[in-house]
Symmetry: C3
Subunit: 345 residues, 3 copies
Amino acid sequence: MTQDSPSLTLAEIATQLGAGLRGDGECRVRGLATLRDAGPDQIAFLANRAYLKDLSGTRAAAVLLHPSHADECPTACLTLDNPYLGYAELSRLFDPLANREVYGIHPSAVVAEDATLGEGVSIGPQVVIESGVELAEGVVVGPGSVVGADSRIGAHSRLHANVTVYHGVEIGARVILHSGCVIGGDGFGFAHDGAGWHKIAQLGGVVLGDDVEVGSCSSIDRGALGDTVIGEDVKIDSQVQIAHNVQIGAHSALAGCVGIAGSTRVGRHCMLGGGVGLSGHLTICDGVQVTGMSLVTNSIREPGVYSSGTGAMENAQWRRNAVRFKQLDDIARRLQRLEKAGRDA
Amino acid sequence: MTQDSPSLTLAEIATQLGAGLRGDGECRVRGLATLRDAGPDQIAFLANRAYLKDLSGTRAAAVLLHPSHADECPTACLTLDNPYLGYAELSRLFDPLANREVYGIHPSAVVAEDATLGEGVSIGPQVVIESGVELAEGVVVGPGSVVGADSRIGAHSRLHANVTVYHGVEIGARVILHSGCVIGGDGFGFAHDGAGWHKIAQLGGVVLGDDVEVGSCSSIDRGALGDTVIGEDVKIDSQVQIAHNVQIGAHSALAGCVGIAGSTRVGRHCMLGGGVGLSGHLTICDGVQVTGMSLVTNSIREPGVYSSGTGAMENAQWRRNAVRFKQLDDIARRLQRLEKAGRDA
Amino acid sequence: MTQDSPSLTLAEIATQLGAGLRGDGECRVRGLATLRDAGPDQIAFLANRAYLKDLSGTRAAAVLLHPSHADECPTACLTLDNPYLGYAELSRLFDPLANREVYGIHPSAVVAEDATLGEGVSIGPQVVIESGVELAEGVVVGPGSVVGADSRIGAHSRLHANVTVYHGVEIGARVILHSGCVIGGDGFGFAHDGAGWHKIAQLGGVVLGDDVEVGSCSSIDRGALGDTVIGEDVKIDSQVQIAHNVQIGAHSALAGCVGIAGSTRVGRHCMLGGGVGLSGHLTICDGVQVTGMSLVTNSIREPGVYSSGTGAMENAQWRRNAVRFKQLDDIARRLQRLEKAGRDA
């Protein structure tokens, strides 16, 4: 089932990346590493000036870099205007998962008779595929994952092990779902009768666009009536919570531990730092960045960078200042009085 | 296994909800939607003045609303004093899950011989039920879930797919556990010997009262000696962490990403906003609300609304203010000196 | 499969703990409880002065305590200089899990033919062990867990139910992984081409040292190129997110809901409170403590206690102060002007 990383010649890599090549195109490399760690059968890359110091001493067989650094490179090199993008492509060439044999339909999987399986679908051991599910061509469902009734998964999407997709979820093509993530659990909806809670059945679904990725142990809840909608190419890290009826615009990225409350709409090309919280029913326009662990309680209508909170400091200093925070309105009023007294004097 | 939503007449719905009816009781509806989205075979509802503007243009077959809005309703209507509560009940009438056929005991499930199964219990594929487990009548265990030894689950409770219940956990009736949640993992308890950590075995259990709901990927840890206790009708959202020996009073609600440290006691009818953190060994009285992402480090003895943190602002403004936060004690002292100088002058 | 807690004599316990004994060594106890809850067949302990008030009234058969409290103890007692450490050991003596029969290799498990299983390995129902996996002697894999290709797990480690270990992960000896945790999911790495995201395959692995414990629903992502490395005896609570290429030094402890961004290095003997966030690419030196829900955005080079944020207060007061926080830089500048005016006067 497993297979080693492939070996590729520099000429093959240059063709694949559309990169310039200086050095022996027949030279063969078997992996990818940093400038410091690469050995003589590996290729390295330089995409950040902070690592320029490591270039002269590298033992790599070749280095992928910007043409402006080619003259400083002691080895063969591949040149690209965006070497970080080249590194991304290179990493996928050497991904052992991408070159792995697949399971076919494992005999221990439980697949409903009326499920529709496209060509080349792979279903791992202990999987459950419920009634009415459609898996398009090339879908991979990892061991122990469950796909609920009537859900549809687009071509070449991959569910890693122990993923849960509830019933009636629509997943696009080339989507990646990591282990432990849950797509389509109930949104948090209850009506109060003055004494206790009455559950509101969550009748909507979840729609994930093409090329979405969801990290391990993240939750995307189904809508109360309409759907929760994640746009194409949205990247969601681990431990993220997305509540019912949230909408996220295409190409946005959400770092670990983000939480978004119900019905909030996030624009396209937004970036939310780790642990950011968005209150419910907000509208965040396109192109907004929010720094780590900020809480946003009002809609944002202008692109830009937003923050809340206070930086960390030594605890004794923090205690003194945090006490003063509780007096802050009083401090401001006393300052106004002094200013007025000065003007009146 | 799947089945469409039921179709119901308005008269049937009015009877079920105890609602007044204006219009054709024989009219048949097949689903529930918002005022804007509802089509002519659906029922809509008006429970919030913000949506009153959508009433006149709705295409719904009927609208559930407060009697005071009946005259403005262009269609048939059902009237109730608490239409939001009516919406909750309506949503459950149209819940396809509630009308789904069940698995019986799926042949791929592994059920211990000495487990006790009540009437109508449904156990999905790839489930594991360990020794000594008791499942009361009507319990549904979703695909891939595991119930540990000697745990007991009350009547009509539902575990969705890939839920984990450890050994020795007591779960009430009508409890709902969403996928990926874990009930009864070890609390975080270690003794330090000056060099490293020694594990404290977590010998307590977890007790979930009747009508508790736990969202996807949430954790409720078992007690160190006594139990972790979640009162009846407590609603817990996704990505929540409840540490060992926490006690939560009946009818409280915890939004997503809440974290509660060990041995803290939360009262009845409390509401914790998303991302709220409670330190350990606190007592929070009944009727407390804490707003999103607040940290509570002291006990709260009066009902009310509590908050911490700073609101989000544009990053450049935030940087200037956050730097001043670190000077806040100094600012307060300087202000005092000026005030004193003014008085002395 | 289940078995009751063992019964032990006080003499046996004293020998096991290296404790002094006062009272009848033949007295037999069957469990461990608090001073208040313990019955006449149980042993209790006193490790915190706050519970000294419960000593005189305890019904326990015996109490484990510091020699200085022996004279106040109304029952038999076991004396130790560090009674909390003694409690940890005692708890493990009475742990029913430690005394449970094991599964052997359950027939429903799917174990690759080329997997290597040490002596006494226990593999639960519905487990998947992929190709090339090595499980050392005494490893226990709980129901529904998945171990990915080529991963290695050290002696006497325990995976509880529904744990996911990806391919190529190295796990030390005596490691405990709780349900729902995911070790080795992809780090969050993408290159932007100006229009959208390109995935960077995560080619590194994860290394967990000996005696590591990971709580339920926590995520430890694999490295982009090198490994994510968790040192020996590191204790990680539930709902924690550790990003790619993070390094955590030995004996550190991370409470629930902590999030650590990519490539950050945490020293040895550090303690991170619940909900703490560390930005990426930081270095935190040995012996640092960070209090709950603090955000750390700069490296820390001195041991000590660090904090950020504001304490919780009544919401109306908080609103007044939080508004002033947005004026804080202005307040500071106005104060400076007043001071200058005073000096000039």
